[in-house]
Symmetry: C2
Subunit: 121 residues, 2 copies
DNA sequence: CGGAATCCTCGTGGATACTG
DNA sequence: CAGTATCCACGAGGATTCCG
């Protein structure tokens, strides 16, 4: 049922998918689009620190995987909206679970990190 | 309740935690340790493609965050076991949800990817 | 406004060799 | 066995400029 693949094998299909999802920006962009479609510039504002190059790249990847749709409205200036597909929305559930985990555990984790930093000479 | 932080802000605590989790190797190493404690060399074998440098680095990070414990057994040769802490185990739940999602959606996603590759001249 | 193209710089991370 | 220490290459990704 797994086609003989082992999830820890670098070429395992599910791992190839996971590699895209695990991407730093992908998680944040999907999160930004969770509520409603957004324009390119709106996403830029929401996701702090992302460059327009990375945003373009991330969106192309999501589009390529069928997780986001790109809609161009001809006008001057041009308007482009990005929206999660049903599959994209379904990704929010596990992603949200991860964010919740991070939020719940961040205090002890950040404390442990600082303690570690002090110990290290 | 969020200390005024916005999750998309680069300095938001939960995002700082997420950055570690989002790491390519971290997910795989935590997964490898899910069932039982493992020795260094055992993890190397399980996680295909990881170099010993990256494994060391990843383990140090997890140790630093209190998600993994490192136990040294003095002997010749030395034996070192790595084990998930309770916090580390709790991370498995959201991670598993993500893996499941990847497995469920991989077929259409990989197909969409190929279609995209063909279209592009 | 929403990019594409170019340049250039860091850091990631692999390969190798050596050590307790 | 389980690392540490170096060296090095490559690619991610930022800054900038230009275009439809």
């Amino acid at each position: 049922m797994n086609d003989g693949w082992n999830p820890y094998d670098r070429n395992c299909p599910s791992r190839r998918v996971l590699d895209r999802i695990g991407d730093r920006w992908t998680v944040l962009v999907v999160g930004a689009l969770a509520d409603r479609p957004l324009r390119f510039s709106e996403i830029t504002k929401r996701v702090d620190g992302i460059s327009q190059k990375m945003l373009t790249q991330t969106l192309r990847g999501l589009e390529q995987d069928g997780l986001v749709t790109r809609t161009v409205t001809a006008a001057v200036p041009v308007r482009v909206d990005y929206e999660l597909t049903p599959a994209g929305h379904s990704l929010r559930t596990p992603l949200k679970a991860l964010e919740d985990w991070a939020f719940e555990h961040m205090v002890p984790i950040l404390q442990a990190r600082e303690r570690y930093a002090e110990t290290a000479s």
